[in-house]
């Protein structure tokens, strides 16, 4: 306990709430309120409506939601596969190779996502691989963006893993593939799950790389939110943002439920 007197503690808590509530809670509340607002020129909206959600439920907005969900699902699955493969393989590699892998797989975190998009645009608009204008390039870009997070969390979990179980299995004669499949992967399941959820959420909200690359037929929800707010339809944008957040949260909660079940097993 850092401060003992009641007054000092009240002061600290008061300052905390005064800073944290407007900064972190107010943004969510306003977006949520705005998504139901008919017009908002006073302190509070003048009237409420659900028309923005009705508009979000069909037409191009619904397509955009499906596009986002499909992109995020494929990209996070691919990122988890590549990232955890690399993290697990790096454990058995030599120290120098491991450090190299670590650096290379974390590099996409440091490179601006706009540059990742520019690179894909430059690289795949020319032979030998032509991907520009397809949905594949968007999914590939999202995969590149989130692989670092998958790698990071799986690598962190793998170093915390006690080697005794794997060593015991190897000592009993299990082949490396069997050790991996029956021991390592089940033990890592909770963190694999968490990594999948994180990758999915990040891909759902990804805007910058998508803005660089999206083709006319594959328009994810964040781009549509930007287009709506850019032409002044801010309430539609807010409703779409709430839809985006809600669908992300549903998937995240689903992932965490899976995780608890994996822990009970």
């Amino acid at each position: 306990m850092l401060v003992h007197s009641r007054a000092a503690r009240a002061l600290a808590c008061g300052a905390f709430l005064l800073l944290a509530v407007p900064l972190f809670a107010l943004p969510f509340l306003t977006v949520l309120t705005a998504s139901f607002a008919q017009g908002w020129s006073g302190v509070l909206p003048s009237a409420f409506t659900t028309a923005h959600y009705a508009a979000a439920a069909h037409g191009e907005s619904r397509d955009a939601l499906f596009t986002s969900l499909a992109t995020a699902a494929i990209a996070s699955a691919a990122a988890l596969t590549v990232g955890s493969w690399a993290a697990l393989a790096a454990r058995n590699a030599g120290p120098r190779l491991r450090r190299l892998t670590d650096g290379l797989f974390m590099l996409p975190l440091a490179v601006p996502s706009v540059v990742v998009g520019l690179g894909l645009l430059v690289a795949f608009s020319r032979p030998p691989v032509l991907l520009n204008g397809t949905s594949t390039i968007v999914i590939l870009a999202h995969t590149v963006q989130v692989t670092a997070f998958a790698y990071q969390s799986v690598a962190a979990a793998a170093t915390r893993l006690h080697p005794a179980l794997e060593q015991a299995a190897t000592g009993l004669g299990a082949r490396p593939a069997r050790v991996l499949w029956r021991i390592t992967v089940p033990l890592l399941l909770p963190s694999l799950n968490a990594a999948l959820g994180l990758c999915f959420a990040l891909s759902m909200g990804e805007l910058s790389v998508t803005m660089m690359l999206y083709p006319p037929g594959w328009l994810p929800l964040p781009v549509r939110i930007f287009a709506a707010t850019d032409r002044g339809a801010v309430f539609t944008g807010a409703a779409l943002a709430v839809v985006l957040l809600a669908s992300t949260l549903v998937v995240l909660i689903g992932c965490s439920r899976l995780r608890t079940r994996a822990l009970y097993r």
Binding site: L104, M106, L118, G119, F226
Partner: protein, 297 residues
């Protein structure tokens, strides 16, 4: 389950295939090379290839001399440094209260701030439009109170709006490692310092801060890198008035199709961010080493 499966296995020793363990790292490295390193190398190459053919430093010379680039570079650097300073100060205070001045709901709030990390950044920018925009809550509250017309708060489309949004969005990135470091601080140390008569300010300064400094540096440099690279927030809030390096890359490449110039700006941005990211990794390594020596002692 695993033990049952192993119990059923034959106990005779098997021949293990001789395969260097390092080989298994090659497929994911190849995938990364194809999707990330090869495009990045082409960006570097393209930055030396002007549109009229051949290879020269002409794109670099033109871009580095242009006022738009210098303006964007200056904006990027000062907004990112300012936002990081804000994040570090604010994050340190908030994490300190959550960890050492517990009050009901503090932990839940900490967890809520944690979920911030998975949310898209442009959401914050969108929210700020409703709060501080020209027809937003704060302005109508002020005009209602003072009876004046016009917009008393008009900073949203300026760099300050971007700065505020970035502080909001990136503070949790500083808080998370700090909370982890604070949980390592011995309560006994604080109690001892406190019973010896040290004021809270002195305890923070002499006991907690030295312990948390590596984590603070790590979180701060991560926030700095992410601020330098931020695109969504700038696009949503300051799109008309504020250009940073990422938005300049976007407008040169997508709106003007000037790829060599876009690639030059991209390379500058990459060099800046990767250098800072190297600092972040050094901070992390320092933190681990400290942690290791503590555990060994």
């Amino acid at each position: 389950m695993a033990s049952a499966a192993l119990g059923a296995m034959p106990t005779r020793p098997r021949r293990t295939r001789v395969l260097r363990p390092g080989v298994w790292i090659l497929p994911p490295l190849a995938a990364l090379g194809f999707a990330f390193l090869y495009p990045l190398a082409l960006v570097a190459l393209q930055s030396f290839s002007p549109d009229d053919g051949g290879h020269s430093v002409e794109p670099w010379r033109q871009v580095l001399a242009s006022a738009a680039f210098r303006n964007a570079l200056w904006n990027t650097v000062w907004i990112a440094s300012g936002a990081t300073a804000g994040c570090v100060v604010l994050g340190f205070f908030l994490a300190l209260v959550i960890a050492f001045v517990p009050f009901p709901g503090a932990r839940a709030l900490g967890r809520f701030i944690d979920t911030f990390l998975a949310f898209p950044s442009f959401l914050i920018a969108l929210a700020l439009v409703f709060i501080y925009g020209s027809a937003g809550m704060a302005n109508s509250l002020l005009t209602g109170l003072t009876g004046s017309h016009g917009t008393p708060i008009a900073f949203l489309a300026t760099p300050w709006g971007v700065l505020l949004a970035e502080v909001t969005y990136f503070t949790p990135f500083v808080m998370r490692p700090l909370l982890a470091a604070f949980s390592q601080v011995e309560t006994a140390q604080i109690e001892t310092a406190s019973s010896l008569g040290a004021r809270p300010w002195r305890i923070v300064h002499q006991v907690i801060l030295p312990e948390a400094l590596p984590s603070l540096a790590a979180g701060g440099s991560l926030a700095l890198v992410m601020c330098l690279n931020e695109f969504g927030i700038v696009l949503f809030t300051g799109a008309k008035g504020v250009t940073t390096l990422p938005t300049l890359v976007y407008s040169r490449a997508i709106l003007q199709s000037d790829y060599p110039a876009a690639c030059v700006i991209a390379m500058v941005n990459v060099l800046l961010s990767v250098a800072l990211y190297g600092v972040y990794r050094l901070c992390l390594r320092g933190r681990h080493r400290r942690g290791g020596s503590r555990a060994g002692a």
